[in-house]
Symmetry: C2
């Protein structure tokens, strides 16, 4: 199992929309995430810094393939145009990143 | 069980020190946290934004009392002068906050 933490900005004028969307994520999107081994998926919002922090546990064995399966899913592809315009990727993001990876400095079970 | 997410700044010149400290947290500090019902405690670091993101699960029934027990613990009180000077509370923090609370907008088991 691999814990992963990520961060991205949020457009302040779209915070309410983001909350509404995530209070009722499409079941097919959640099913695809689960099928790709992602568990305990949480997103936190911080205002007024307008940041989203996400963490999950990945319990599969081939992360790139599991991510590709999410990206190739037609329902997920229909979901992203709702969520993505709310998000503001960090200026410091790595090439290819949308959400930016964070470094784990502590974990205690 | 209550999930909690928090954020705080970190002094960029103390990132290496913070990593070292948290790679070897004093056992008594971890024992006190566990005795107060805190599980699955994780801290992530994001550079160059110099932010720390923490999350945990609280499985006790009296959060204020459990936090007070941590604050009253002599070993924990000796630990904080090592960790605290690395941290930079957000300007937007609420009265009484050190780490700032975040709002959960999504959770999927």
């Amino acid at each position: 199992m691999k814990r992963m933490g990520m961060v991205i900005g949020i457009a302040p004028e779209r915070v309410a929309e983001y909350r509404r969307l995530h209070a009722a994520v499409w079941p097919a999107v959640l099913e695809r995430i689960a099928a790709s081994g992602i568990r305990d998926d949480t997103i936190y919002l911080r205002e007024p810094e307008n940041l989203l922090f996400a963490s999950w546990e990945y319990d599969g064995s081939e992360l790139e393939g599991d991510r590709a399966a999410i990206a190739a899913d037609p329902q997920t592809q229909r979901w992203w145009p709702f969520a993505d315009p709310c998000q503001r990727p960090l200026a410091s993001r790595a090439p290819g990143e949308d959400w930016s990876a964070m470094e784990e400095v502590l974990h205690v079970d």
